[in-house]
Amino acid sequence: MVPTNTKNFDTLVVGGGIAGLQTALDLGDQGYSVAVVEKDASIGGKMIRLSKVFPTLDCASCITTPKMSAVAHHENITLFTYCTLNSLDHDNSGEDSGNKFPGINAPGVKATGLKALITQNPRYVDPIKCIGCRQCEYVCPVHVPDMEQGGLSATKVICIPFSNAIPQLPMMDIENCMLCGQCEKACPTNAIDYFQKPERFIITAKTAVITTGFDLLPVRDNVQYGNAKIPNVIDSLQMERLLAPHGPYNRVLRPSDGMEPDSIAYVQCAGSRDKSTGVSYCSRVCCMYAIKQAMLLSGSLPLADIIIYYMDIRAFGKGYEQFYQNAKAMGIEFIKAKVARIDEGENGQAQVRYELQDGSGIATADHDLVILSMGMIPAWNPGAICPVSKDSDKFITSIKPKISPVLTDMEGVFVAGAAAGPKDIVDTITESGCAAMEAAKFMSKRLVEN
């Protein structure tokens, strides 16, 4: 079916994480109309799911929610959440784009705008009728693991994904729904729609900014660290949830038995800087977030021993080195060693086997909780969707990394944040501003030339 529903914007932002939000705000504030397309049911990306953020130790929610809310209420920004980007390419069809790009497509000038095909995935909830009251969620009898909490606690089959989600719309996990109809009965506005279908539509835009972010390397693929089968070995994003003020247990507990951990270890470069176990590059943020988590832990569990196994501590940003030195002064132990493997130990412990970097050999240690600082990989593969190039590291290629790292090899298409390589929040936000600037420049240049 060819969609006939077309929406026109100046810029299409692909991804509603912190990079996408900042890009959208910086373009919207300049008067450009922006569409933000997000695959998840809420905007906010990885950042809204974090606990506190280095080096200021601000609460991540408190920094992200104002930007999310500013985007949601911005007169020039339109949000499309829970959407899939099916294709994004230059629109050279000519005839039907003549009127879509006023100012760009003057008579005789070839149309070079962008065209994206999008699918709105069904939430099984009518977004117009829904008032976000959560009655559906309260009455739903089916519990499923809450992936928003790293799978560490349960949620309902129909629910608003997390408390400060935007939009405040629930979505139904139709795979696990038993169609009991209780939510439909409870809904005061008749917003439940079991028969909602995916809807396809077209977005045309003069420019696009790719802000698709990152994922962590999956622990389950890592043989050395036990393929995610060893209890109490978790990844760093799960640890963020344990530390978050509205986390799964409201405190830091060992997932297998709810014990308060006395000995906690961080395994750095878990799959980073090591082609054989993951990726060859440095994931850039793991040192700092491990230090940050360790500091938060030593606050909530003052008696626990916290050890960070590392190769090099990469505290390179503004205020980061000082943050690292503070962590050392707080008594967090840093051991320069490469962790070779992790095995299941006794009493729910995990046994870490590591190679000391001073050459003195192999040692082992047992810990109640082990956090793997897994490497960062791109969350989106342009593949057949978009002809933008990616580098050998699989992140989007930056064609002028020294002059403007946000330029891609596709005209009118820019990149920002972790989509262009691992990056912390500070660098991401700055880069997003630059991407917005380049997109604005591209559009104003076109106006001048034509």
């Binding site: 300049q30 200021t56 008032i131 009251c133 009655q135 850039r284 390179f316 630059c434």
Partner: protein
């Protein structure tokens, strides 16, 4: 605005109160009709209505209808949290042709029905609505504050960050003046050769920028210029500039300022790792210069005509300094930060040497290798492949440089290598290269003139690294590049783009609209004590001026709305209560408390 009244004490008695059921979310716990009956009787309330979903079209229409018919002139909606629908209802009021600031919200879902139950919930909802009504009665129509702004930006500093900011802003149609204190543009790029990690030539990058900027019609460049003074505020700054050569003075009127004042290399103190004592101890910048000029094609690198058989590269010189270990500078300061760019630059130089001069052996002495950036880790891997020897020292056991006992080598470096059992080793060398870190260029004069904050690391300090990373607390002043923190060229260009986007958004209309929630002085009441001026947190926002009233000179406080933060620090200290915050007045809070203590009776 016909309803505009300068008298703050005027109270209206035509408040419309609209209470939402929220489809049971509120009405399951709050007896909405009982609340309506009570509210309707409150003095000043003209109408009180209920609706299943106040945010729905019928709900909004109800409000619009009442406003249009003149029944009401203030609106209170009691529903969910204001974060969800405050803007919805303000927009509805706008559609009715009224001023959106005649609106107040009562939060009876998140802060009542979802946390309290039964009669208590009903009572509390009533009191909160009474309190909101009390505030609404003193609301007045407000208009955004409009400040005329010159569509012109001044960039201070002509390095890569300054140039990129200038080009970006100029492209959006805003005029730009670039001021550089030296005779040439390009800043630190002038001192670099092949940039890590991918080896672009610094001179090519600079040329690409220069080609664009010198002929750009919107950009005026002043080199060899010093800024003597900066006055004014957002949209309307004035810079007094003087030329270094002939002391010619001129002014620049500008709407915004971007600080791109850059950085310098750390200079080792005399004797630091033998620097200044042994000619064979040089800094990284010197080595880069040598490699740039080097034409020799032998298998050994030659420096000053002497072959380098062995060389040592020492990392973190003037960076990551630790109190009690490193020697502070004359001002007592240490560079505790990491300089971010040196690891990749050192490895880049090492690889160049090892690949072109395989006869030159290299030892890199480091604390942590920080090849964090894209493509940088490959440099490190490549260096290992190139047989660069890595030795790791701890901060409390710094390498020592002494004359070598061996006849073939002038110097030796003593190191306790923590990669090999903390063994102490002497490395004989012909050359020692120090990776000197980045220090901000000293702009303390300019910073104190403009009231720009400087961090403990001596770099210029942004408002917040994540919320407002390229802004200063002084509205209209931005920062970009290495005046903020160590960065490489690409990162400085990102920061420049970010600063440019903020400056363009600010100035694009030729005027700036600010929130109307600023302090307002009641001229009749003001006695000119000046307590408010003293309490004011924003320099220049409040001042005492002399005015003549009926032939007598009086001192009166005056607010510069463009500078006022709207925090209310002034309102708290005025003995006459002659100054208050529009939209958030102290008097309104007093009325709200009265409404609360009387359970709604005292509205």
């Amino acid at each position: 605005m016909s309803e505009m009244s300068s008298d703050k004490t005027t109270k209206t008695d035509r408040v419309g109160v609209y209470i939402c059921y929220c489809g049971g979310n509120i009405s399951d716990h709050v007896d909405v009709e009982a609340v309506r009956n009570r509210v309707e009787k409150m003095p000043g309330v003209a109408v009180a209505r209920t609706e299943m979903f106040m945010c729905s079209d019928p709900g909004q229409e109800m409000i619009i209808e009442d406003l249009k018919s003149g029944k009401i002139d203030r609106v209170v909606v009691a529903s969910c949290a204001p974060s969800l629908h405050e803007t919805t209802f303000r927009d509805a009021i706008k559609r009715a042709g009224s001023n959106p600031f005649i609106y107040e919200h009562a939060n009876i879902r998140e802060q009542v029905s979802w946390v309290h139950h039964g009669d208590t919930a009903t009572n509390k909802a009533t009191v909160l609505i009474a309190s909101a009504t009390a505030k609404a009665k003193r609301l007045k129509p407000l208009d955004p504050i409009r400040v005329e702004a010159k569509k012109h930006t001044t960039i201070i500093g002509g390095g890569v960050a300054g140039i990129k900011t200038a080009l970006d802003i100029a492209q959006t149609g805003i005029e730009v003046t670039l001021i550089e204190k030296s005779g040439i543009l390009g800043g630190q790029l002038n001192h670099l050769d092949r940039l890590a990690p991918s080896g672009e030539k610094a001179s090519d990058i600079l040329q690409e920028f220069l080609d664009q900027i010198v002929n750009y019609k919107n950009i005026t460049i002043h080199t060899n210029c010093i800024i003597e003074n900066v006055t004014g505020y957002v949209g309307n700054f004035r810079l007094d500039v003087v030329t270094k050569s002939d002391n010619k003075k001129f002014n620049i009127d500008t709407g915004a300022i971007v600080m791109a004042t850059g950085s310098v290399s750390y200079t080792p103190y005399d004797g630091e790792y033998g620097f200044g004592r042994h000619e064979q101890v040089i800094v990284l910048k010197d080595l880069i210069h040598i490699l740039k000029e080097n034409k020799s094609s032998g298998s050994v690198l030659e420096v000053n005509g002497k072959p380098i058989k062995n060389m040592v590269m020492i990392h973190c010189v003037g960076s990551r300094q630790i109190p009690g270990i490193h020697k502070p500078k004359e001002n007592g300061k240490l560079n505790e930060y990491c300089s971010r760019t040196c690891c990749a630059a050192m490895l880049n130089a090492s690889n160049q040497i090892r690949e072109n001069f395989p006869g030159t052996g290299i030892y890199e002495m480091y604390r942590d290798i920080r090849t964090y950036g894209r493509g940088q880790e490959a440099l490190y891997t490549q260096a290992s492949k190139n047989k660069v020897v890595f030795m790791r020292y701890e901060a409390d056991a710094l390498p020592e440089i002494t004359p070598s006992p061996l006849p073939d080598y002038p110097l030796q470096v003593k190191i306790k290598d923590s990669l090999t059992f903390n063994e102490e080793m002497d490395v004989p060398v012909d050359l020692v290269v120090l990776a000197t870190g980045i220090e901000p260029d000293d702009v303390s004069g300019l910073a104190s003139m403009m009231k720009l904050p400087i961090g403990t690391d001596q770099f210029l300090l942004e408002v917040h690294p994540k919320l407002r990373p390229v802004e200063f607390p002084i509205t209209g002043v931005f920062l970009a590049g290495t005046c903020q923190a160590p960065m490489d060229a690409g990162e400085a260009c990102n920061a420049a783009g970010a600063a440019a986007v903020k400056a363009s958004a600010l100035l694009r209309k030729g005027y700036i609209e600010l929130d109307p929630f600023v302090a307002q002085v009641d001229i009749d009441k003001c006695q000119g004590h000046g307590a408010c001026v003293e309490a004011c947190l924003k320099e220049g926002a409040l001042e005492l001026i002399e005015t003549t009233i009926e032939g007598k000179i009086h001192k009166k406080a005056r607010v510069t709305a463009a500078l006022c933060l709207g925090c209310g620090a002034c309102a708290a200290v005025c003995p006459e209560k002659a100054i208050d915050i529009n939209g958030w007045a102290l008097k309104q809070y007093e009325d709200m408390v009265d409404a609360i203590v009387s359970d709604g009776f005292a509205v």
